[in-house]
Symmetry: C2
Subunit: 335 residues, 2 copies
């Protein structure tokens, strides 16, 4: 197995099939190429490596990589100075949107791969305040504040005009009633209320419910991610085929499939690695995904990671992803 490790490490460095001669030198053990050849033949029988054709060296298979990352890889934690350097990148920005962006850019910058950060879900979103502002005619601007100061706003077109004082009364009423309550409860109560007294369904309230609904949905459904450094992937010769690259980039912009994948990662709390087609999406054929969840106070908020060729430097990438997740969590916590 020592051989497999040496072979993969070499292949990760060069990107070229590794031959018996080079591997013999790499292992450190003083063995002849012939011996190494025997071992490599065994590895091939086990399905851990393949040779692209008869006289090329060997290349790791997905199974080989899997064994490598699961058992052979000794991950040194990142140098404390490097961690500090990364931490300081977060220092500048305070609001959560830019923190996310910093994390994503950091991931892609440090690893030279594509970085991806799923936006944090806010479970247990709490109602804080609602405000209705008259705009022109029958339009009303609704502003809903939840949680730690997330602001949601929406323009509501009502059936009849409301006077400013009516709007203020409505907002006072709702705010007094619901402040501090869980948004899901708020929505439920509003729905119940409307159904009970449904003969005079108030357009304003109806829309307010819709808005609450949407906020709740957005909070439960983690809905989006942010990606950067996609262009880094163009550097790798294994992704040179224009067709594949196009399919990949389209998946990035359509987001749906990638989101599914990230969703699965969020369940496996901690570091998660998909190698090649393990993900089940064949468009990630020659790609791997390394992710880590980030959390605040034992509650998983989301997941972040990198996408790159299967031939990526796992030894370095894994701790980077891990640390970035921790740093982002820390930055979000104190923000």
């Amino acid at each position: 197995m020592h051989f497999l490790k040496a072979l993969i490490e070499r292949y990760i460095r060069d990107g070229q099939p590794v031959g018996s001669r080079t591997l013999a030198k790499d292992t450190g053990l003083d063995l002849s190429p012939a011996t190494v050849r025997n071992v490599m033949a065994d590895l091939e029988d086990l399905g851990l490596v393949v040779s692209p054709h008869t006289s090329a060296g060997r290349v790791p298979t997905v199974l080989g990589y899997r064994l490598f990352v699961d058992s052979l890889l000794t991950i040194r934690p990142l140098d404390e100075r490097d961690v500090d350097a990364l931490r300081s990148e977060f220092a500048g920005s305070s609001d959560s949107a830019t923190l996310i962006e910093t994390a994503s850019r950091m991931l892609s910058g440090v690893t030279h791969l594509a970085g991806v950060v799923m936006l944090p879900r806010h479970e247990r979103e709490v109602f804080r305040q609602i405000e209705f502002l008259p705009l022109s005619g029958t339009k009303v601007l609704a502003i809903l504040v939840t949680g730690e100061g997330e602001v949601h706003n929406r323009i509501i077109v009502t059936e009849r005009a409301y006077s400013p004082s009516q709007l203020i009364r409505a907002s006072n009423f709702l705010t007094e009633l619901f402040t501090g309550r869980d948004m899901r409860e708020v929505r439920q109560r509003l729905v119940d209320d409307l159904q009970r007294t449904h003969r005079h369904v108030d357009q304003l309230m109806l829309r307010a419910v819709e808005m609450a609904q949407r906020v709740v949905a957005a909070a439960e459904h983690k809905d989006d991610y942010l990606m950067s450094g996609q262009t880094n992937l163009m550097e790798f010769n294994e992704l040179t085929s224009m067709d594949r690259l196009k399919a990949l980039f389209q998946a990035f912009t359509e987001k749906r499939e990638i989101l599914h994948l990230l969703d699965r990662c969020i369940e496996a709390d901690g570091i998660q690695i998909f190698i090649g087609d393990e993900s089940g999406y064949e468009l990630l054929g020659d790609c791997s995904l390394v992710t880590a969840t980030y959390r605040v106070e034992d509650e998983v908020l989301g997941v972040l990671g990198v996408i790159g060729p299967t031939r990526m430097d796992y030894q370095r990438v894994i701790p980077v992803v891990d640390v970035t997740a921790r740093l982002l969590a820390a930055a979000l916590r104190q923000q």
Copy 2:
């Protein structure tokens, strides 16, 4: 010149250098290849076409395209049914963000190129209301409503804690003072006030000014654009070189250069076309940009268009861009 037109139209179709034989057939005039060769030699002397090598056909130069789009192109307006089809796409969405997105996707969808829409600038942003909400400790959430219901929000960390009633008083004070005023005026007044009475500079006010400043800046500076269909560009063989493609995509995500370019287009009110390196950015070397401004009530809000290879179907693209701009403007107006 009729020859140039035929040549370019042919080249746009096939993407292959056009030889004398094919061109002879294309023109419709019953001329022999030899005659056509003479003409082509003349066109080459004029700098309108070049041949990639001795025995290939001719390919239009930037100058050739320029002449083509300026003088030779007869643009038929879009079929009324097509316009209706496009219009109906806008019908579904009501808020301005999704309208913009629809426009961008429409552009890329119809032309099979990359569509880009600059976000509308709101000149003369008007102050409507400001609200301060206490969060935990010394944190205050400031919500600023401007214009037709744009909501800006920001978390302010103050030096000392404010009581809820103090915050309400502050927001009432500001709202009463500034409602309906131009944001630029608001900012100026706030700055003046602070300087006059600067011994007891109020942290809260200071941050409010900063926020106002930022809103004003964002309103003046058209700050962003939305792009879609970038992957369409991967289809064209003239953009096959990975290096160029990477540079292009990086420019798309960094946005700075593209924004500069769009800025220039916004000035030339109406349709604007940059062919190849006319833009001055060599990374758009083999690309053309076709844009149109969109406006509401004689005020230019922004610009939209498509980016594609110089060898794009101008005859079709130009009316599409034109119509999309009008439709977007109409949709924004009635929204």
